[in-house]
Amino acid sequence: MSQPDIETLELHHKYWRSNIHILGVLLLVWFSVSYGCGILFRDALDQFSIGGAPLGFWFAQQGSILSFLAILLIYKFAMDRLDHKYGFDEVSK
């Protein structure tokens, strides 16, 4: 492993900050749909319903899982774009 120069290092740090930013947003959503809607605010949400199911209950058993899927899909695209922007997606041999 060769020592990267200052410029490359700077680039790496910028990339890492963007990465943390994306993670932060996605994990906020992750927390709200599961712990938020499914547990902490379930009673309040249960006053509404989706089809024949109380909304809080639905989030705990269905909605949270669907949201997790969406999060992973967004993560994949957001990170691929970030990699592309920084030129980290070329296959290096």
Binding site: S34, L66, I71, L72, E90
Partner: protein
């Protein structure tokens, strides 16, 4: 065709496929054996990881647990899927870039110490061992129902098959076998759910059936399925199906322990080392969760349907008119009925029918022809005992579905148990042969010797697992699951995460954090599960959820001690810098 013939056909066919795959992808090198040379496609890896992840316990018991506890069971649904979000965003891309065989390799290199390695190996072995015992029990149960043999013989047959293809094929063989097993599982899980959903609610999609209206019967107006279930539950003395009864703080902590535990399970993490690069890791993680969601989104529907069916078919019915599945499972020892009020009818309600699991009096039948039990009757109106685990397997029979569907579910159960057991066995043997033998005890052993140790270790582990499958120490297995997740959450997750996201956390912080997290969690669980009988939990957090507190402790200790001591070496700093950048991970995985 008779039911037996259908069962044999389905199981025989699927087994043929699994074994053929295992033989055609025999491993030649350690790299192929451990991580399939890092060359599996993301979609295939997704399916395989899903099959690995969804154990017999998930496949067989989860719908049963949901049926029994309604909302409370959401902790498993959210915990076991939400963990993948953490796993994907916080762990695997960086560990894949790191590019070694095992999670323990990372701990050893990042914290510059064989002690970290050793603690890691112990956790790894303990977690996998706990898991695999439950799997062997599951295999035994299915085989016993299937071939009308006793559970012990079932366990032995299952172990032999698992050993055969996990030690021959290594990771490559296992991965491709698991792809086939995933397909069997997904089909076996969905088809009965779709049939039953149509029968109960007129909805083809079970997830819509769950929120749909129950078919109107006897001139009554249509009401939502869940509302009907709530009414039935309340009528029988249970809490509402959609409300549950766990305190919120416990619900929160258990869900968290399961989530962070999932993100720290070594046998799941290592699956992502089998794909080609970081980009493929992200894609693969998405596919994994999709494949898991197919089953996890269906389970709540099956749970609600099964409970509705069960109550309607059993409660207040005369035993002589009991459905045939009821007497079938009674014959296998997983259902029992005690006629407390002597009216010949089965009354089902909240509370135990009797204490413990049924111990039948041989050759003695009650007046209605039921099997008699010698247990002390419990003080409740409930007369029906049933093992929750039968719900998924009995579900198609309950709904009167065709015989081939029942055979398909059986094949699915076997696939679930075998795929998980094989995956675990591989990680277990890797821990022993690679992390312990090669890295700690004797670094000079050759590739060939390493694989030999791996096969030896998997044989040894399997013997132990089979023993516990045959003689489950009462409710030991169920209780130890809390261990597996609690330990993963309090050890692997925080330490690995800090190892990646903090450059400041050093050897002392990392090791102390891991040790304090585990020790606290371990002692708490042992104290409340095995030593005392009362339930005066700390802040009302049950042993199942204490891993979350252990994790917080680990984070705190790691950070405090790291900042009190000098930062890690320049080499480690460079390594962290390196794994944060995805570029270059497509290079070969290095074992040494």
């Amino acid at each position: 065709m008779s039911q037996e013939l259908w069962n044999f056909t389905f199981i025989g066919l699927t087994f043929g496929v699994y074994i053929a795959i295992a033989i055609s992808s025999k491993a030649a090198s350690t790299k192929e054996f451990y991580v399939a040379s890092g060359g599996v496609s993301p979609f295939a890896n997704g399916m395989a990881t899903a099959a690995d992840w969804m154990s017999a316990a998930t496949f067989i018991s989860m719908a049963g647990i949901i049926a029994a506890s309604g909302y409370d069971a959401s902790r498993y649904l959210m915990g076991w899927t939400g963990g993948f979000v953490l796993l994907t965003t916080l762990m695997v891309p960086y560990l894949r870039k790191f590019g070694k065989f095992t999670v323990v390799d990372f701990l050893g290199d990042r914290f510059e110490s064989n002690l970290a390695r050793f603690v890691g190996v112990c956790c790894s072995i303990f977690i996998c061992m706990t898991y695999i015992m439950g799997q062997m029990r599951g295999v035994g149960m299915v085989f016993s129902r299937l071939f009308e043999i006793d559970i012990s013989t079932g366990v032995i047959i299952g172990s032999a098959i698992v050993f055969f293809y996990s030690s021959i094929g290594g990771m490559k063989g296992i991965t491709y076998t698991q792809v086939a097993q995933y397909m069997v599982m997904a089909i076996a899980y969905s088809i009965p759910a779709i049939f039953i959903s149509i029968m109960l609610t007129d909805q083809v999609v079970p997830q819509l059936g769950l929120i749909g209206d129950l078919k109107a019967s006897d001139g009554a107006g249509a009401i939502p399925l869940l509302q009907k279930l709530n009414e039935l539950n309340v009528e029988l003395g249970f809490s509402k199906y959609t409300d549950g009864s766990l305190p919120m703080i416990d619900m929160f902590c258990i869900t968290a322990a399961l989530m962070f535990g999932t993100a720290g399970l070594p046998h799941v993490i290592v699956r992502f080392f089998t794909v080609s690069d970081v980009k493929a890791v992200r894609k693969s993680a998405f596919w994994t969760l999709s494949c898991i969601a197919v089953i996890y989104l269906t389970a709540p529907a099956i749970g609600a349907f099964a409970r509705t069916n069960f109550i309607q078919e059993v409660n207040n019915k005369a035993y002589v008119e009991a459905p045939s599945w009821f007497t079938n499972w009674e014959e296998r020892g997983l259902i029992a009925w005690v006629d407390k009020n002597g009216d010949g009818k089965m009354q089902y309600s909240n509370g135990l029918a009797f204490n413990g699991i049924p111990s039948y009096l041989e050759d003695k039948k009650g007046p209605a022809g039921q099997r008699m039990v010698s247990n002390t009757l419990a003080d409740s109106k409930n007369e029906v005992f049933f093992d929750q685990d039968i719900l998924v397997m009995a579900n198609p029979e309950m709904a009167g579905l065709p015989k081939w569907v029942i055979a398909l579910v059986m094949a699915g159960c076997v696939a679930a148990a075998l795929s998980t057991a094989a995956g675990l066995l591989l990680v277990l043997s890797t821990s022993i042969s690679h992390d312990l033998m090669k890295k700690i005890i004797n670094p000079n052993i050759s590739d060939k010797q390493e694989i030999f140790y791996a096969r030896l270790a998997s044989f040894g582990s399997l013997v132990v697992a089979a023993y516990f499958g045959i003689n489950p120490p009462a409710s030991f297995v169920a209780k130890t699951v809390a261990f597996a997740f609690g330990l993963a959450a309090s050890s692997f997750f925080p330490t690995i995460m800090l190892g990646i996201f903090s450059k400041r956390v050093n050897k002392i912080g990392g090791i102390l954090g891991m040790v304090s997290g585990i020790t606290f969690t371990f002692l708490y669980i042992v104290y409340f599960q095995f030593i005392v009988d009362h339930k005066n939990y700390f802040l009302g957090i049950s042993p199942e959820g204490i891993g979350f507190v252990g994790m917080l402790l680990n984070f705190t200790v790691s950070l405090v001690f790291s900042y009190l001591t000098p930062p890690p070496s320049q080499e480690v700093m460079d390594m962290i810098e390196e794994i944060r950048i995805p570029q270059g991970a497509s290079g070969p995985i290095q074992g040494h």
